[in-house]
């Protein structure tokens, strides 16, 4: 596949490759592939070329161009990009003026030398798990363009899976990083609630919103995560903690971890493919079965809180211009604001109890395992799927196993299983709060042993000539 962020940065920093050439190649690849995938809703070519020239000049002058020098990246279109309208997947927001400043995480990546190339498709207001956006179209899964990419950060996962950019940013309220990462076969990190700044992003559910990176390797994810970390007084939920870098931990000895594989709720409705993926990781880590009491109720409480908080946030526009919303999003938001207060108060109290239950498990386990999704990517437009003997909504069910975990803010690294000739499936590696470092070490060890890894999609034949001639050299490198 194309070069990793690590390789690009090493080459650019070492003067062996120009950032301007990397960016030009990225735009050629986007031009060739995006029309078939619908990952990008906008690109910022001029800005990217100027940034690339700055990086190349820094190298020429002997200045440090940053740890991600010349690495192209893109962001879910709920991140503010100065001079660009922040869509959040909606047409209502499209009427707003362009953002006056960058989101904090966009600034941090650019300060590290990474080069923004554009913004990515998503479900409207991040309320969905499939990125079938009624305004901007569906994002296609690079492994099978007739299938969904997952959501709501579908553009972010698909862009990375297709090699349009080596890294991207997304957001995760109930699973919106973990679900598309799993369905597109890439890595996605939902860090501890409060770890990364959300300043300059469009909120969905304040008490559940997280942001995080996607990548095709553990090392790239770690390099990206490290430059994103740090306190930010502009996000009141961002913890006042120093950065805890993880990239330097990857080469340390394979960690000896007490792993638990979540049973009960996390297995009952899972497809054979999801269980097979889970077992592959569980076997490698000698995981013991363990139950997390209350998981089904936690998912339900997260579901109700999401509808209520999201509905409340959008209530003014629901009153004035309900017809401008995606109907599926609108009806869920309205139903959310009509819920009795007693339900929401109980959901918050239950949340505290459930967090204590989960923290108790971490007295006996270092890492918990669960499927990322109950099934693999479904065909675009398919509303329901059989699951556990019932016909269930695809949109709602994709978050079955992610919602209970984000409900209590635990860090999760979603890893792609190596599954030859099969659609991607992912597994959630879950740790105690603030223990992302351990997740990276475990994932790196699993990747080194060949259990997990991002698989190159079979790209559409029409794009092969464009790829063969680009300076990434993909045509010469062949499949990996």
């Amino acid at each position: 596949m194309d070069l990793t962020a690590f390789e690009i940065a090493a080459d650019v920093r070492g003067g062996r490759r120009r950032a301007a050439d990397v960016v030009a190649a990225a735009f050629r690849r986007i031009s060739a592939l995006n029309s078939g995938l619908n990952c990008f809703t906008s690109t910022v070519r001029d800005r990217a070329l100027i940034s690339a020239e700055d990086v190349d000049q820094a190298v020429k002058d002997g200045r440090d161009p940053g740890p991600l020098a010349g690495v192209p990246f893109a962001v879910k279109n709920l991140f503010d990009v100065q001079g660009t309208v922040t869509l959040a997947g909606s047409t209502i927001a499209a009427e707003q003026p362009a953002a006056a400043a960058n989101a904090t995480l966009v600034d941090r990546l650019e300060t590290a030398g990474a080069i923004l190339v554009g913004s990515l498709n998503m479900d409207e207001y991040a309320y969905g798990f499939t990125t079938e956006n009624s305004h901007y179209g569906a994002t296609c899964n690079p492994h099978d363009p007739t299938r969904v990419a997952g959501g709501s950060s579908g553009g972010s996962a698909a862009a990375v899976a297709a090699g349009l950019t080596p890294i991207s940013l997304g957001s995760d309220t109930n699973g919106s990083i973990r679900v598309p990462a799993a369905l597109c076969g890439v890595y996605g990190l939902k860090p501890t609630f409060g770890r990364l700044s959300r300043h300059g992003t469009v909120p969905f559910v304040h008490s559940l919103d997280h942001v995080g990176p996607f990548a095709r390797s553990v090392r790239d994810l770690a390099l990206t995560y490290d430059v994103l970390q740090g306190a930010d007084p502009l996000d009141p939920a961002c913890a006042d903690r120093p950065a805890e870098p993880v990239a330097g931990l990857l080469e340390s000895a394979k960690p000896s971890v007490r792993a638990g594989v979540l049973g009960g709720y996390f297995r009952d409705a899972a497809s054979p493919q999801a269980l097979s993926a889970l077992e592959a990781v569980a076997w490698k880590l000698n995981a013991r079965p363990v139950e997390l009491t209350g998981a089904k109720a936690a998912r339900a409480a997260a579901f109700c809180l999401t509808a209520a908080e999201g509905g409340s946030l959008h209530l003014p526009n629901l009153r004035r211009r309900a017809g401008d919303f995606d109907p599926a999003v609108r009806d869920r938001l309205i139903a959310g604001v009509l819920q009795p207060a007693s339900v929401l108060a109980k959901a918050q109290r239950f949340r505290r109890w459930f967090l204590d239950e989960a923290l108790r498990l971490f007295e006996a386990f270092d890492v918990l395992l669960a499927p990322a999704t109950p099934f693999a990517a479904t065909p675009i437009g398919q509303a329901t799927t059989p699951l556990g003997g019932q016909s269930v909504s695809v949109r709602a069910s994709l978050g079955l196993y992610t919602q209970p975990i984000s409900f209590i803010g635990l860090p999760v690294l979603t890893v792609p299983l190596v599954r030859p000739n099969a659609l991607p499936m992912g597994v959630q590696l879950i740790a105690a709060p603030w223990n992302e470092g351990l997740l990276f070490r475990v994932a790196h060890a699993l990747e080194a042993e060949g259990v997990i890894g991002a698989k190159r999609p079979s790209l559409m034949p029409a794009v092969q000539p464009a790829i063969a001639s680009d300076p990434f050299g993909e045509g010469a490198r062949g499949d990996q």
Binding site: A300, A301, P327, R330, A335, K346, R349, G409
Partner: protein, 60 residues
């Protein structure tokens, strides 16, 4: 025939919130309200300690 109580609730509650629902939207909101009620049933009666305080929820 009496009106579906969920539909009646949705109509009245939406009107009180200043929300105007056409027929399609009413159907969609009623469907989603049923889903939310079913979800709430999973935790609304969950036995919790009387002194459980959710205030420190996000102090991880």
């Amino acid at each position: 025939m009496s009106e579906d109580p969920i539909a009646a609730f949705v109509k009245e509650a939406a009107a009180l919130q200043g929300l105007l629902l056409d027929d399609d939207s009413l159907l969609g909101v009623v469907t989603n309200t049923r889903v939310l009620r079913a979800m709430a049933a999973d935790f609304i009666d969950w036995p919790l300690p009387a002194d459980l305080d959710p205030a420190a929820l996000l102090r991880l």
